[in-house]
Subunit: 388 residues, 4 copies
């Protein structure tokens, strides 16, 4: 299973091609749109979110609501492109046309300068149009297909907000996955602990008022995972490694951890591992899940629990020093427009990125040219490991 994305932030469209999805998966545009809409929502988003009314178009790989086994292509049109045609169009300009909206002032915290130096672009719009978090919509689209596949074999994935700035949500160990999904889907902050919503909103409002931005921590739970996804036999087959790599590749993420994560440094071995028990009905079980669902690079059968930290978005109302690459003069980094906090959207992105990796691990391990075969293989595996 693999996918490529293409598209610039103000370009004509985002395009995603997904290769390797089994045949006969029920897939509707509205399933994907549901994910895209969740990504766009969230308290504290800026004006851009209102412009981007993302509605996916499935342009191949699906027929009559069901996948064919052939590559799935997904298109997200940019309704605003008509205003950007001469700025971002693929066609050459007339010789005497002045290029509008050129960017020679790199914003700290963005790819602008690094990318310009690497690709030798003197107009940094050529970088920022692609490095924009707009691309995560394409990753969400791909991940929503993965989520549909996982759902068919009893695996559910949810991303929610664990912390915004210094406001931390409480764990909700008693909630079922369905309850967590319902609560977070209704929350403007994508939390599963509504008691912190007001404080989070206040923190966002304060940041916006101060012309500043704030980040936070996202958490993803994956429930219903069979034991043994990933493998210990070679380092690059460890599933926790793959998930970590994918999460860190989300725009603005600076850290990732499983289970108790960095806290394990402060604990002793006797307090951090998950004891093993057994019941005839359920087979081997864990009493706790401190390790976040992984031992030896493989799933334990407990929920995958992974956190990622997002830095405050770098487009700031309160500007930082930077240098114009033409004049070499110092300036205060200005911005086109901005959200003051994008953590709720990031939680949705992280959910979909993790879903992709888990689905990929499933298809690595189980027969998968069509869905009935996949469901049968997974079910037999669950039964064999239960009886082991």
């Amino acid at each position: 299973m693999r996918y490529l994305t293409a598209g610039e932030s103000h370009g004509k469209q985002l395009t995603t091609i997904i290769e390797g999805i089994p045949a006969h998966l029920q897939l509707l545009a509205e399933d994907i749109n549901h994910s895209l809409i969740r990504r766009q929502g969230g308290y504290g988003r800026g004006r851009r979110m209102k412009i981007e009314k993302d509605l996916i178009e499935i342009t191949s790989g699906v027929r009559h609501g069901s996948t064919l086994g052939s590559p799935i292509s997904l298109v997200l049109k940019n309704d605003d492109f008509k205003h950007w045609t001469d700025i971002m169009g693929a066609e050459p300009l007339q010789d005497d046309t002045e290029i509008r909206r050129q960017v020679t002032k790199p914003r700290p915290g963005h790819a602008d300068l690094n990318g310009a130096l690497k690709y030798n672009h003197r107009d940094m719009r050529n970088i920022l149009e692609r490095s924009s978090a707009r691309e995560t919509a394409a990753r969400v689209a791909a991940g929503s297909v993965a989520k549909q596949l996982l759902r068919e074999i009893g695996i559910e994935v949810l991303g929610f907000v664990k912390q915004i700035y210094q406001v931390k949500a409480n764990d909700q160990p008693k909630l079922t996955m369905q309850e967590k999904q319902e609560i977070s889907h209704q929350s403007a902050l994508h939390v599963i602990d509504p008691s912190v919503e007001e404080d989070m909103k206040a923190a966002i409002d304060q940041a916006k008022q101060d012309g500043d931005s704030i980040g936070g921590i996202c958490e993803v739970h994956v429930e219903g995972v069979p034991v043994g996804l990933g493998s210990h036999v070679h380092f690059d087959r460890k599933l926790d490694g793959k998930i970590a790599g994918s999460v860190m590749s989300i725009n603005a993420f600076k850290g990732v951890e499983f289970g108790e994560g960095f806290e394990v440094a402060n604990k002793r071995g006797s307090d951090i591992h998950d004891e093993i028990s057994y019941s005839e009905q359920n087979g081997y079980q864990r009493e706790t899940n401190r390790l976040g669902g992984f031992e030896g690079g493989m799933t334990t059968g407990m929920p995958i629990v992974v956190k990622g930290v997002m830095k405050p978005i770098p487009t700031l109302y309160k500007p930082l020093n930077s240098v114009d690459i033409d004049t070499k003069e110092t300036f205060k980094a200005s911005i086109e427009r901005s959200d003051s906090c994008a953590v709720p959207a990031a939680a949705v992105v992280m959910e979909h990125v993790v879903a992709w990796e888990v689905a990929n691990a499933i298809l690595d391990q189980f027969s998968a040219d069509f869905m009935d075969q996949l469901k049968k293989s997974v079910a037999e595996y669950r039964e064999r490991t239960r009886l082991f």
Copy 2:
């Protein structure tokens, strides 16, 4: 650039094949051994470390001290294999031979049970021999070749211990890379802040005395990195993502972060980004390095600063509940032997894992069939970006 490792912990040997190293890199067995010896050292290691006198044998790809461009194979013989021949040998046993040292008691925190369920092994020795951290010696060997390559183009990599249990070392921002290397190489705890050594030793001693184990945090610095390694153009080309995935795949690692990492959640945008300045002599520069050397999945030219957290090693003197897979009876998980703290060794492993990813990014970006060409390409790139 790619590599595969093979070998079981008590098997005949560890083998590594590295494919894609340019020709004409000076490479001596002693360079690799230097890394292997550092991995084996460190306060708090168990008896096994004294048995494993790792000395690498270069069995291909190097002639007269210089790489050929062809695959490099590295062998670490297991001197103790003579005692394990009948237990771990490749040859079939006589029908009536009883297999010694079978393992039916999975240890919590290890791959034992997950792997047995996945691969349908009823003797979990078939899992633990490969999931053992012994394999990291092969990764260190591969990474030491990467380090030699990086050194030739002015890039130095150092892994050191940042925290053991609750004892945190202080940052040492004023030390040069060479000073940090010298201090950590002489430290039994692989720290660059000798003031905490006594406290760390005491923590290790106490854990050992209590029959417990402790983990900690490792940190890796990469200095001399050109701006623009990695790329923003596709999510799977972001170098911070690749490094994160690799670090998380190290045995017992549960988290990874760049720069201020999870701390960024607690800060505001105006306090977390690195302002850009310019001087005619050095080109574009950063005044700070809060983001750990990455923006937009690309290097900024500042040092890469990455931390990883290692859980306390799960082989415990103080046992945890588990279940025998034959009898299904609960038992107290015992161990063969153990270190009480492996964080100093883990810092060396992490150093080499990160070095591999950086070297790989270098070879992705620059022409590299032989070293002089690589050096020329990197030098010209440094000059072009300085003058940009």
Copy 3:
């Protein structure tokens, strides 16, 4: 460099995403269209070719006629889709809708039956829509971008028809690349030897009149190739192997050979190798090119000469026995519509498939984030090897 294609033959569109093209490559839609139009032309094509007025739309990765370095997405709309919406649409059908144009009769020589068995599709339209040679338009689009890149560094690629049915064109060793391009571009049969055109047309006409189909042999020349593309160091880095794999993956291709190909079996060693000479001006040279430009999996600097054989297209007016998968009754395999000979189109496809592999080898070997760097690296390499 990598690319994915998506799209069914009668679906909404074909989509291609190309990742890894350097920045600053001049790229116009008309360059790609030129290739697509050549693929659609050729004597003996059926009605479908007139329907498919392929005009590419560049939907990302190119701005103002120049590549950005970000993924390039290319779309080929299917103008006829309005007639196929209910048959091929992504949306679910109403429960009582009868699906039109279902296919239960597999055609020998097509993917129909194999694919249906593998993917468990009882309507084989779900296979044939993707296995159709229509997909090669997407590969031509990708290859045309590769050709633009190669042209910038002095490498030209041409595919032409060497044989149709039993009519063989003569080699034209005295023609320059430019002459071969001009002649073949003007030839309805895509030959560089116009003397055989009439005989080829007659063979095609006769086959059509008989309700039969014919195949033939395509040949691709790549000129201006530097010595040393590919590598001997690992089997999967040999460029001739990669080209062979790609050519064989073209629909209906059954064989591939370099230089004298299968003829070498009939010759002795003294008659088959290419002697080496030297001149101060040109460096090392070959007097002949019997091996088709490859020794040891690497280019010799002589033109790459590769042939591929295409079977007669299996959609036949003269039907073959097959079995209906619903009734299990034998029937005479009928067809929707057909060309009697697709070899001229296949020569264009093969040209672009080979171009992709050569461009990929170029970017593997030379620095390539933007075109000026690529041009400089290749030029310096040419000079170094000339003076070696």
Copy 4:
């Protein structure tokens, strides 16, 4: 499933690491040795073959005759290395040591010159030691593991000699796979048509007497293949393409074809496709196998029939013109030693290379962490497709 090989022709050893073989495959050194011995046999081999008494050592991944699921490493020691230690050793030489056996005279038809120019080696021993066909022993070792796996699911692979120089063996359509294996294994020429053995020997003797070399054509049959291996959904998943790429990457191979191969150009569509029939007992069947077991990049369930052509080996007693890279003077290319015909060995190599690709396709399609699961998945698939 993936593997890397390492090792120079006169170096210490050849090493292969295979990653991705399921657990519980019975694997003995003698199975691999059987393949290696067949590769070394064959009429017309030179002195070197007698020196190389290849006996494999399994150094990991196998315990008590059964695979663990972890990477398998295989070592072929070079018994003659003691005579080459100072020439090929990894250790640096003393400053005043003269390097023996330097090569400055490139042999036409070898990688020598292309590789030297690419890697900037002035001693071409640094190229020829790796480009030597000696490396194919490592590929045979890997392929022999694949063959063991295939045998367990009822798939047999045989490579034999179809033509040497102008002596063509007849097809033997009535022989069973077992008969073909027995006959070819006993034939000094690895043919399944013993009637041509004398003529082939005479051709080899004559070539040797004339100081010349001859090539020929190898053929591989794969029987017991399920329908639907490979896939039509994306060009790089077509199994015939992968096999073609792998076969072409064998040293000295210049062409590859399936079924009637290049002959299809001379035939009409009505004579080249394989009609489909059906019986309740066997399901869908083909009456003929002109396409060599492939339609649409997928297997048809008929035997895979693939041919490859090997050029006469370029190490010639009758020398060709070449140029000394130091003096730039023309010389007659001499050789160290040579076989006059290596086609019988090449047939064994090709058998193992094809076996690898087929096994890889099997593991892509079926669940495969351990052999019982693989066998069950394949058996169920065979049954489902029979009843389709």
